[in-house]
């Protein structure tokens, strides 16, 4: 079942719109991860899809059915809450049975369904326990079993792993990913964790300040972010300022001149930047394009994480194979495969150190953002 949002708006206060006009389509049978920092509106959007909140404007369709004003109890959805929201006074078995309260079948048939769900989620031994007697992972399984007991066409999950410790989260993340993809139902998964989003989502929706910044497959969003926010959110990124020629299809960078597939349109106040992920660099021979003077080198087991500057003073962070010999003060030759280069428009104010670099002889700016935002 497709979910389509048209012009959705929601406001909780006069000052700020929580959802500022969102148009989206969640494809049928796919897992879509909505990702963004705290306060970006991702949980609000999920609650709007569930019907727990009503939009101030816009429409929500499940396939051809307009559900904008339909209450959640009539939307045929499954919802896994961040805290799981298991009924504390009911046993695991009773929690799942509650989901079948309106099914026109006998008690025996309901018991069979519950028993089947308990088996699927391997929680049969917990059937008589209360939620307070369960571990975080067990609660998560019960919440999923309860949400799926009604066999909903749409499954909505609001940060279901965020309450767990890091080790358990890592383990359940993989398990949940396998499970969600085996369901073949439209699933919308909200998270603030980029790794979780990339692992679980067939599609990603990146949100910031109540708006969708970018959507697409994880690989596309990672390789072709639309702006510096997305570029930094999905991993370490060297954003190196470059110039566009008149055709807007060739860029002049400190590392050479490159062609880009699509002309880059810059809005007033924007500058062009090359996105170079640390892992995109490859070691080169003596004729390498970039001569990097190593300022620090950290051995991370599977790779070296090297920080340095190129000959023009552009600071770069580069990952190098762990079998290389790297030491501080040395010069390392690296190159960038042309196919890896992505150019994006960045607000000039977001490129820190711009003013200082603009005074340099090359009139080019190197900039590095550490980690995710």
């Amino acid at each position: 079942m497709d979910i389509t949002l048209n012009g959705i708006r929601k406001r909780f206060s006069k000052e700020k719109e929580a959802i500022a006009g969102v148009d989206l389509r969640f494809p049928s049978g796919k897992v879509t991860a909505i990702v963004g920092p705290s306060g970006s509106g991702k949980s609000t959007l999920l609650n709007l899809i569930a019907g727990l909140l009503r939009p101030d404007a816009g429409t929500i369709f499940f396939d051809e059915r307009d559900v904008t004003m339909v209450p959640p109890e009539r939307r045929d959805i499954g919802f896994v809450f961040q805290s799981y929201a298991l009924f504390p006074h009911l046993s695991v078995e009773e929690n799942i049975t509650f989901a079948l309260h309106d099914r026109p079948v006998s008690k025996g048939a309901k018991a069979k369904s519950v028993s089947a769900m308990l088996k699927v989620f391997e929680i049969t031994h917990l059937a008589k326990r209360r939620p307070r007697e369960l571990s975080g992972g067990e609660r998560q399984r019960v919440a999923l079993a309860r949400a799926l007991a009604r066999e909903p066409q749409i499954l909505l999950l609001d940060e279901p792993l965020s309450a767990l410790d890091a080790q358990l989260r890592e383990h359940l993340r993989r398990e949940l990913g396998t499970f969600l993809h085996s369901l073949d139902r439209t699933s919308v998964y909200v998270t603030h964790d980029r790794d979780e989003a990339m692992l679980l989502g067939d599609e990603l929706v990146v949100m910031r300040d109540g708006s969708v910044v970018q959507s697409g497959t994880p690989a596309h969003v990672y390789r072709h972010p639309v702006d510096s926010f997305v570029a930094n959110f999905f991993g370490d990124a060297n954003l190196v300022r470059c110039d566009l020629d008149e055709s807007k299809q060739r860029i002049v960078s400190p590392f050479g001149t490159f062609s880009v597939a699509q002309p880059l349109l810059l809005q007033p106040g924007q500058v062009a930047c090359m996105l170079l992920r640390p892992e995109m660099f490859v070691p080169a021979g003596a004729d390498g394009v970039i001569r990097l003077t190593v300022r620090s080198a950290n051995f991370l087991g599977s790779k070296w994480r090297v920080e340095g500057r190129d000959a023009t003073g552009v600071p770069l962070v580069v990952d190098l194979p762990s079998d290389m010999a790297v030491a501080e003060g040395e010069i390392v030759n690296v190159r960038i495969p042309r196919s890896s280069i992505h150019v994006l428009a960045v607000e000039a104010g977001r490129v820190s150190g711009d003013a200082a670099r603009d005074e340099s002889e090359h009139n080019l700016t190197g900039h590095f953002h550490h980690g995710k935002s």
Partner: protein, 261 residues
């Protein structure tokens, strides 16, 4: 060494508990022990109990009926207020909630006088006594229920029930109501105990036909023998026993709020 320390601490715990128990229980036990002596003699007898039941039976019955009424009326009045304060807070609601607590800091005599002046038309009516007691009991219900409701993630549980297809009635019947039973019963027990043992207001507002048992107890001490007073005390304690048992049973059953869901 650690084991020896553990034993010493345990012994210290037993000793202090025993001292507190003796200090608390000795006076009523002495009073009760006198109840089995016949008035003006050293003979063992149950006649004092017979006397108390004959003379003050009506007071016992009145106190019991009054306490039950106060429990129900306090819940009816205070429950919606507690729900409003906890689930739908509004501007100044916390100030109003604190103001409701004011009677707890006032001496009983002030409450009695205030009630007599404020509701003079009800003078002689048992409702006046009930209202005076409710000035004490309503704050307890508001506070106990309010705090419990704040601990429960009721909004989220209701939302969960909605996504599972539950309509308004089902949500109330199977999610909200079972979760507030525990604090409601607890509040009821406390209100009953307060009303059952309340003396100050009852004494001032008492009439010959509306004499509560604690006020009657006072009369036994001032006008009867020690054995009659002891018997009245024993009956009074007996009336409170179900409350203590119920309270203990409730304490053993964990409240589901604050446990995380």
């Amino acid at each position: 060494m650690i084991e020896r320390w553990g034993r010493r601490r345990m012994a210290w715990g037993y000793l202090t508990t025993a001292v507190v128990a003796v200090i608390s229980l000795l006076p009523p036990l002495v009073a009760v022990s006198h109840s089995f002596r016949a008035p003006e003699s050293e003979q063992w007898s149950g006649s004092s109990y017979e006397y108390v039941m004959t003379t003050y039976g009506n007071s016992l019955s009145f106190s019991l009926r009054l306490a039950l009424f106060v429990v129900i009326a306090s819940l009816v009045i205070a429950m919606p207020a507690a729900i409003a304060f906890a689930r739908f807070p509004f501007r100044f609601s916390s100030v109003i909630e604190e103001l409701i607590m004011t009677p707890l800091s006032l001496p009983g005599i002030s409450i009695a006088i205030a009630v007599i002046i404020g509701y003079n038309s009800l003078r002689g009516n048992w409702l006046l006594l009930a209202m005076a007691q409710m000035l004490y009991t309503i704050p307890y219900v508001v506070r106990i229920l309010g705090n419990s409701l704040r601990l429960l993630p009721l909004d989220e549980l209701e939302d969960a029930a909605r996504t599972l297809g539950a309509g308004r009635y089902l949500r109330y019947r199977h999610v909200i109501a079972p979760l507030i039973v525990h604090p409601t019963v607890l509040a009821s027990l406390i209100v009953f105990a307060i009303s059952w043992g309340e003396f100050n207001v009852s004494f001032l507002l008492a009439t010959p036909t509306q004499l509560t048992f604690p006020a009657a107890l006072f009369a036994t001490y001032t006008s009867n023998s020690l054995s009659v007073a002891g018997a009245a005390t024993a009956i009074f304690i007996l009336g409170a026993v179900p409350f203590f048992v119920a309270f203990q049973l409730l304490e053993r059953r964990p409240f589901e709020g604050g446990q995380g869901v």
